[in-house]
Amino acid sequence: MTDALLQVKNLSKRFGGIVATDDLSLDVRQGELHALIGPNGAGKTTLITQLTGQLTPDSGAVLFAGEDISSLPAYQRSQLGLARSFQITSLFLDMTALDNVALAVQAHAGHSFRFWAPARGEAELRDPARAALARVGLGERMNVRAAAMSHGEHRLIEIAMALAAKPRLLLLDEPMAGLGPEESARMVTLLRELKRDYAVLLVEHDMEAVFALADRITVLVYGRAIATGAPDAIRANEDVKRAYLGEQKAVTRHG
């Protein structure tokens, strides 16, 4: 209980007749990589957006480091140390990779009502941004405009921006989406390194990656958590096999 960094308590959200999140409870502990899996439409991204504060749940509570953050706006949650990467790449495309990440640093460097000094000359902003880009392996590419970079690189910038926000918890929404096999392997290596330093809540479709990386896994079906446990326990769970893994295998076999 005490070492839970993020606690989600009985969260519910419905859109009209559709229940997107159904009395959901889970927690992410310090130093843990907790993976969230489930078929398409299980409500994974909806859950993430409720955690970050872009969407308000109908009922339930979100606790971060023991503090109830349910009614905080997105930017305040982010300042507490909740960093999110987006499933669909959402960058400042007309800026360089470094500018992108430097903005993420700036968000956590006090208020920005500073009108005179050139921001691109401030070591306080640029150095952490360079470090974050170097950490994800984009050190050489930091002065390229984001619009001119590949999809895989965009995913890495996303991670770098999350890192630059001095996070305590990383919410990674499908970081491997759309990556080729080589890029995926690179991302798995990166995530394995990151989980040493940060608590991570990982939403991912790539089962191989999930089972290789996760300490615990929660399976979401129709907005409800049907099982939570270590990878082996999840693999053996009959409900999960029926609801999710079986279907997934069938799909991949056809594909």
Binding site: P73, S78, Q106
Partner: protein, 317 residues
């Protein structure tokens, strides 16, 4: 290499333009061409107004269609005080600045709740309200406007009735405004405002309360334009609701887009081109707008990035 040489073409064009603007009163004095001096004084004032609009529109992505309202507010602050017998510029100008800032604060606070076309239209609506308020002020001329019999008096520091001194005042204020905008857009504040133009949702997700930054930016722009309004009223010795009419806001937008959105010196190019063209075409034919109109259309269709874009500046897209 390529980019380098293009950049210098652009640099040279800007330098030449500034040099010519600085030397214009000398030319006017030597040839006795007062008309050029009058025209370019007006151009400098409009360039200042357009530069302020460019700050929110080009850098901040806030498409205000009511920017001419601040021209009117700055102008009426000078006009009304002069009418009431207060000719001192040390009173008139701070009032013009304060009222413009206050108006921008109120308008911005309400308008920034909306986005996209709704923002364009609500800023237009507020400007139209200001227009009708001015038209309804019977004491200050109503529809017919207000003649200013004495220009702002700066206690001998500068004489606004002297055409050359007034020209250089406008020139210096324009350069100061552009320098201010240059500092602002490259500061932390400017990064936030430009980030919000590029991807507002993401800015909020990484921890920026964008609204208050955008509002601050909106107020700065409105205030700068209010100064242009005070200059304009002094220049024409007259202020009327017409300077707030929505087509005037349209003119300012045209200058910004013509010059190149989000380009520091673009609005100056835009103001020069639009107003000189207006002057030239109207000498050529009484029906000059029949040429100007389709030209605007062609510029939109074929010359994206405006004049500064043609000079080789890369536009953000």
């Amino acid at each position: 290499m390529m980019k380098q040489s293009l950049l210098s073409v652009r640099g040279i064009a800007i330098a030449i333009m500034l040099l010519l603007l600085a030397l214009l009163p000398v030319y006017s004095h030597a040839t006795g061409n007062i008309f050029a001096l009058t025209l370019f004084t007006r151009i400098l004032i409009y360039a200042l107004a357009a530069a302020s609009l460019n700050l929110i529109m080009g850098f901040g992505g806030m498409m205000s269609f009511g920017h001419a309202a601040y021209l009117g507010i700055g102008g009426y602050a000078v006009g009304i005080l002069a009418h009431e017998g207060i000719a001192s510029g040390f009173v008139q100008w701070p009032v013009a600045i304060a009222v413009s800032a206050l108006f921008a604060l109120v308008i911005g606070a309400l308008s920034l709740r909306t986005r996209g076309v709704y923002f364009i239209m609500i800023t237009l609506a507020f400007a139209q309200m200001a227009y009708y308020i001015a038209a309804g002020m019977a004491r200050y001329g109503g529809d017919d406007g207000l003649t200013i019999y004495k220009r702002s008096d700066f206690a001998g520091l500068i004489n606004l009735s002297d055409k050359v001194q007034f020209y250089y005042l406008c020139f210096v204020l324009l350069l100061a405004a552009i320098y201010l905008i240059y500092r602002i857009v490259n500061s932390r504040f400017g990064m936030v405002v430009q980030g919000a133009r590029s991807n507002e949702k993401r800015m909020q997700a990484i921890g920026f309360p964008t609204y208050r930054y955008q509002l601050t930016c909106f107020v700065i722009a409105g205030t700068l334009c209010g100064i242009a309004g005070a200059l304009l009223a002094n220049n024409t010795d007259f202020v009327s609701p017409a300077i707030m009419y929505w087509t005037r806001s349209g003119d300012l937008m045209v200058m910004v887009i013509l010059g190149g959105m989000g380009s520091l010196f673009g609005p100056v190019f835009g103001a020069i081109v639009l107003l000189v063209l207006e002057e030239l075409l109207s000498q050529f034919t009484e029906y000059w707008q029949i040429i100007l109109g389709p030209m605007l259309l062609l510029i939109v269709l074929f010359a994206r990035g405006g004049i500064d874009g043609m000079l080789g500046r890369r536009t953000h897209d």
